[in-house]
Amino acid sequence: MDDEEETTSSIHVRINGEREQHDIEHGETLMASLRRAGHYSVKNGCDEGVCGACNVILGERGLTRSCLVPAASCDGADVMTVEGLLDDAGNLHPLQEEFLEHGAAQCGYCIPGILLSAYDLLQDNVNPTEDEVANALSGNICRCTGYVQQIEAIQAAADRLPHSETAAEGDA
């Protein structure tokens, strides 16, 4: 074996707007480096890019499975985790409030990834249909809820967002 410890390096990233420097290990994924830096909301559900629990919003790339991205490729990147949904005063995002209201979180392990999928959807589609929400969640596995209350919560949150057509036009 070669001495891999020698190959560690560091990257500069902005996590939810805060500058951080992460020492990374050879071959480490973004998921692993984020978790090692204490960003435990980034969950490891499979380590193979299937479950969506490690979703982050990665700069221009948008919604990304952080377990598939080498940390070394993220120098200078902007990363948003679920903590980034809170406003500056620490208030919950409408998505989070509606998840609570609808009983859409059971064990919660998939929830950060699902909330980020939903957030990503609402960036482009302010008034998603049920099918569009389901499509947005197609890369996430939730083993507890059966998704129904999550879809309802996401649509309810969309209704509340200021740019939502429904909010602007009422029920018409």
């Binding site: 435990y40 980034v42 969950k43 919950l92 009983g103 064990c107 919660g108 083993r143 809820t145 129904v148």
Partner: protein
């Protein structure tokens, strides 16, 4: 448990009925989960969400063979690698055999395993484990361990395993053999339960209908992998922070396996990412993490990879179920004989109890006079079967509810009408295992109303609209199901409630919340007794050091058993509050009202609970008082929740492709204490059941290797696969439940396989009798019929 403030346990086991606040401040309201904020902000901390820079990395060396004896293990080279702190094998652990099965000791399971077994009996079984200062050192050490295996013949099929020419998996004698065990022929247990007169039943029948049904192996697949962090604390006690749904049982099993005092083991159960049964058992990595911590004296982190978890975690048993039914032309079931062969895999674990449940719960729905259940659980060289949501009744319900439709068809009766005529009614008894001590007469049975509501919802009597193109055919299918509210005379829960100086409550109860909302429901129950808001209650449940014994989360026991204990503890505290207030005001305690968070004596001014607590603690009207209440619950009762589920399908007759378009769940769970969370259990359970119905499967190749490269090969239901779902709450009132509640965690997982199979039969006239139901099987069946 002497760290609690407070007074001796109340001996009073009765639950007062009349002093609840009528306004239902929290109970029957969809209050937000008490842990909800952490769940939606990412602040919830699961087992692995703590810094472990100070921990040794642990890994397990696993058997590549389905059946082999370890002749020798050479660990010398591995131990010599820099950074390696410990290498342990079967030579380093007790020879005492036990069972991992998560019931109170002695579980209904053979003591047929050790932490490491000299004979390995399935691919992936632990052979050795390493702890080292770096992941790299651990991996190199695993490669450096030399194992000399004597590969043995293996057997994967349970029928073959019972034959005379096949290997015996457990030739050594073991303790705690189950009913009619025959280890030489790989039989873990053989059971027989007869009521009435079977022969007479068949003679009196107009038609006799037989069928055979098969179910596949599936897995619980909670999203958090099984993980354990173990260390020795500053009092030289062993601490496990781990993914469990039964912290107190886990503590007891670890202590027993390593011969440590119970008081010298602590289990911390932080947030847990799902359970669904797999965390009822103390799984190998939990024992191994403990062994490595004890060996090294250091903190050790051990976490299965997803693929590893898929390969080695206990599964849902596959079963072959034969049913023979005698029926009269008028639709009366005269006799039922159910015979089950259950594949328990390499170890006995839940073999016996799952087998018993597989027949008894489904058969309970049809209380005919003559019933016979025969069955056996069999060892084979695959991953051990364990506990999984539904616990045998998923298999049994698929078979029985498919068969009930087949019988109805034979006598030309509508399957719903046939079920109406035969289904259990209030006051009738459930079919309980001979070993059960249950008092089996049921006081709340809403199954018939569930069926009516489900039929109304889907429009059963009109039948489905058929597409104009007759290539596509639609069908409806239904299934009834029954589950339980705990294992009778086995569950035990104790709860302590403390009145804090400001009138808030701390509830200490050892429930195993893995997301289903048990902590929330316990909080609601305690709050309700005082008419307090849920935010005035803190539920502490995540640490065996801080909570009294509770069996934890399995058998749909928590709301009923732990909920009753919590209600009693809160009422015990309420009684003390009334006694003290009566003392202050010189009135009869009975006359002191306690509602809406206020203490109201018959004369004088009422005060808030907060004011009351402050005065009591300050000693303004007498000696300083600190008030706590306690309660415990242990019962021969296990009230049954019921469900009627209906699937609507559309089948492409030219390809066999099909879609489940609608799915209705009508559920009687007694009173729904938190309707939003109840709905979540109903839908989540149904979707898990639907996954087993249409796609999930773990298969093994001829060498016993699991045929899964990872999660990508295990097909669960995604959001885009959902049918239109309707959920109907049919609320009965269970007089023995906390605020009228029964359970709801498992009952809707049972019906989907049969409901879908029946709907496909309704649509295209072919019956799929082995799970999962695939387009290929439907197409084959359609070809057979042509």
């Amino acid at each position: 448990m002497s760290q609690y403030e407070g007074e001796p346990e109340s001996a009073d086991e009765t639950v007062a009925e009349n002093d609840a606040a009528d306004s239902n401040v929290t109970v029957r309201e969809s209050v937000e989960k008490v842990d909800g904020w952490g769940l939606v902000t990412g602040n919830a901390r699961y087992t692995d969400d703590v810094p472990t820079d100070d921990a040794l990395a642990g890994r397990v060396l696993r058997s590549p063979h389905a059946h082999a004896r370890v002749r020798s293990i050479d660990t010398e080279a591995a131990e010599a690698i820099e950074g390696v702190t410990a290498v342990i094998t079967h030579e380093d652990v007790s020879e005492q055999r036990f069972t991992r099965t998560g019931f109170p000791h002695p579980a209904p399971a053979p003591f047929d395993e050790r932490v490491f077994n000299e004979t390995v009996r399935h691919v992936g079984e632990p052979v050795a484990a390493v702890a080292a200062t770096t992941v790299d050192a651990v991996e190199r050490a695993l490669e450096a361990i030399e194992v000399d295996y004597k590969v043995l013949d293996h057997v994967l099929d349970p029928e073959a395993a019972m034959g005379s020419d096949t290997p015996t998996l457990h030739p050594e004698e073991y303790e705690n053999q189950q009913e009619n065990a025959d280890p030489e022929h790989n039989v873990v247990c053989e059971t027989r339960h007869e009521e009435g007169d079977i022969e007479a039943g068949f003679e009196a029948a107009d038609e006799i209908v037989e069928g055979e049904y098969k179910t596949q192996i599936v897995q619980q697949l909670p999203m958090e992998m099984n993980t354990a962090i173990a260390w020795i604390d500053d009092r030289q006690r062993l601490v496990l922070r781990t993914t469990t749904q039964v912290p107190h049982i886990c503590r007891a099993k670890i202590a027993r396996a390593f011969d440590i005092d119970r008081t010298d083991v602590q289990v911390i159960k932080p947030r847990v990412g799902g359970g669904f049964g797999v965390r009822q058992d103390t799984v190998p990595i939990q024992y191994i993490a403990a062994a490595l911590a004890l060996e090294t004296g250091e903190k050790v982190r051990l976490r299965n990879e997803r693929k590893e978890d898929l390969h080695v975690s206990q599964t849902r048993h596959s079963q072959t179920i034969q049913i023979k039914t005698g029926v009269r032309e008028d639709g009366t079931i005269m006799v039922m004989h159910v015979d089950i062969t259950s594949n328990t895999g390499a170890y006995g674990c839940h073999g016996f109890a799952v087998l018993e449940n597989a027949a008894h719960e489904p058969l309970s729905v049809y209380p005919c006079e003559n019933r016979l259940f025969t069955g056996r659980a069999v060892y084979t060289n695959v991953t051990p079967g364990g506990a999984m949501r539904g616990y045998g009744a998923v298999q049994g319900t698929f078979a029985l509810e498919s068969h009930v439709d087949k019988v109805a068809t034979e006598i030309g009766m509508d399957p719903v009408e046939f079920r109406r005529r035969n289904a259990i009614e209030e006051g009738e008894a459930s079919f309980e295992p001979a070993s059960s001590e249950a008092m089996d007469q049921l006081q709340s049975v809403g199954v018939e109303e569930c069926l009516e509501r489900a039929c109304e919802s889907i429009g059963w009597s009109d039948g489905p609209d058929q597409p104009a193109n007759d290539r596509y055919r639609c069908g409806y299918g239904t299934a009834l199901s029954m589950a339980k509210s705990g294992v009778p005379n086995s569950e035990f829960s104790r709860c302590n409630v403390t009145l804090e100086t400001d009138g808030t409550l701390t509830v200490r109860v050892g429930v195993g919340d893995t997301g289903q909302g048990s902590e929330t429901v316990m909080g609601q129950i305690a709050a309700e007794v005082f008419g307090l808001d849920i935010n005035s209650v803190h539920v502490k449940a995540d640490d065996t050091d801080a909570t009294p014994w509770d069996n934890g989360a399995y058998a749909s026991s928590t709301t009923y058993v732990s909920g009753n204990a919590t209600e009693k503890a809160a009422r015990d505290l309420a009684e003390k509050v009334r006694d003290l207030a009566a003392d202050w005001y010189d009135v009869d305690p009975e006359a002191v009202e306690l509602a809406d968070g206020e203490v109201a004596p018959p004369r004088g001014e009422s005060m808030t609970l907060s004011e009351f607590a402050e005065e009591a603690f300050a000693g303004i009207r007498g000696p300083k008082r600190r008030l706590t209440g306690s309660g415990q619950h242990y019962t021969p009762l296990s009230p049954k929740p019921f469900a009627a589920q209906i699937a609507a399908v559309e089948v492409d007759t030219e390809t066999g492709e099909f879609e489940v378009t609608n799915f209705v769940n009508a559920v009687d769970c007694g009173q729904a204490l938190n309707p939003a969370n109840v709905r979540g259990q109903i839908i989540g359970g149904a979707i898990m059941g639907l996954g087993q119905t249409v796609s999930e499967a773990i298969e093994f190749d001829e060498d016993g290797q699991p045929e899964l490269r990872g999660l990508r090969d295990y097909e669960v239901i995604h959001a885009t696969d959902l049918p239109e779902i309707d959920t109907e709450l049919v609320e009965t009132h269970e007089p023995t439940g906390p605020f009228g509640a029964k359970s709801v965690g498992e009952v809707t997982t049972l019906g989907p396989p049969a409901a879908v199979a029946n709907a496909i039969e309704d649509a295209v006239g072919v019956r799929i009798t082995d799970l999962p139901i695939t387009s290929a099987k439907i197409w084959d069946a359609l070809q057979g019929g042509r």
